[in-house]
Amino acid sequence: MLLVLSDEHKEHLGFLSEVDTVVVGEFGRIAVEFLKKGSNAKIYEGAARKLNVPTHSVQYGVEGLMYLLTESSKLMISEVDFQDSVLALGFSEERNKLLLQLYLENRKEIRNILSELGPALPCYHNLEWRLDVQLASRTLRQQVKPTLSLKLHLESGGIRSARVLQTDPATLLHLVQELERALAEVKSNHCRRILRNIK
């Protein structure tokens, strides 16, 4: 699958053919950094002053790289397809290689960042448990009531939260049984066939 670059995108990246390859490398580093931590306008200004070019050229250049990286990571295009896609930019071979390296090195991390943007429920982070035996309460003395206190840590959009729950021995065994069935299901013929065929 080839990446189709819009004329505007090509124009923005075109700036990179006018500067030194070292600068291209540096722009690549900045683009990846911004994808991880968010962009910072001051860096554009600083770089523009050093190179003696308008600020927006630097900004378009870096943003163009960010878009190139996110789109190719999103589609998970292959090494060959990436090379063929950037040919349309008309860069030197050295620059193309630099871009390819940048893509391959950061693809995994960019995909991780992108996957956090998708809609998702709070996801499991950790489970702590404690075995208690309730011996008495205000309403009833002389009890022997085993309970399992559970602290379920969940994570949603980088924010962790914890839910305190409890359960009884019989239900606990039932929970384990039911969730083991869930685990076994992924190894079933049906699931394996689907997993094998969607690649």
Binding site: K74, G118, L140, L175, E178
Partner: protein, 195 residues
């Protein structure tokens, strides 16, 4: 068991054949147990056998009986404690035995009821799950990862007054981790029960 004057007086009235015949006594005790165990049970005033008794008196006796029952269950009182207590409020053996029979019959249900009254965290009663295979979303294509949606059903408060769900997703590895921890807890529980 310590009883307040009002409860002791109510029980004395219950014991007195001049106010309540044995037939009415048994009916009242039965209603008292039933009213504690079921919120929908008919009140003491609706019982056909008890209609002829003075309502204020009936109310006093009912309150005394229920208070005594709850206190006895709470303390896990045995037969001798109950008999000696009832003797003090002038119960004869016949009434005392009738009370004890009803007490034994309902004790376990009442214990369950009383032990469910406390400010405990939501109680997990069941788990349901769904296995998904994520193919792509708006931001990433070719995700191709199995993922589970787990839903714990929980009940809150006495008799499962409010039920809700805790929903979360997890990867295969995360579910394995969760199951391993629950299994570990199960084993610990089993070992503890054998002590």
């Amino acid at each position: 068991m310590e009883l307040s004057d009002s409860v002791a007086k109510g029980l004395q009235t219950l014991a007195d054949p001049a106010y309540l015949g044995l037939h009415h006594f048994t009916a009242l005790i039965e209603v008292a147990f039933r009213s504690l165990l079921s919120s929908r049970a008919d009140g003491v005033f609706d019982h056909p056998d008890l209609k002829i008794i003075d309502q204020a008196l009936l109310k006093h006796c009912h309150v005394a009986a229920t208070t005594f029952i709850l206190e006895a269950v709470k303390q896990n009182a045995d037969k001798s404690t109950i008999s000696s207590c009832l003797e003090e409020v002038k119960f004869d053996t016949e009434r005392s035995d009738a009370f004890y029979t009803a007490y034994q019959k309902n004790k376990t249900s009442l214990e369950n009821l009383l032990s469910s009254i406390d400010g405990c965290p939501p109680h997990v009663t069941d788990a349901s799950w769904r296995l998904d295979y994520c193919i792509k979303n708006g931001h990433v294509h070719k995700v191709n990862q199995p993922s589970y949606l787990i839903s714990f059903s929980t009940q809150n408060g006495e008799n499962g007054a409010t039920s809700s769900e805790v929903n979360f997703s997890c990867t295969l590895e995360q579910l394995q981790d969760l199951v391993a921890k629950l299994k570990d807890a199960g084993k610990t529980m089993e070992r503890a029960s054998q002590l």
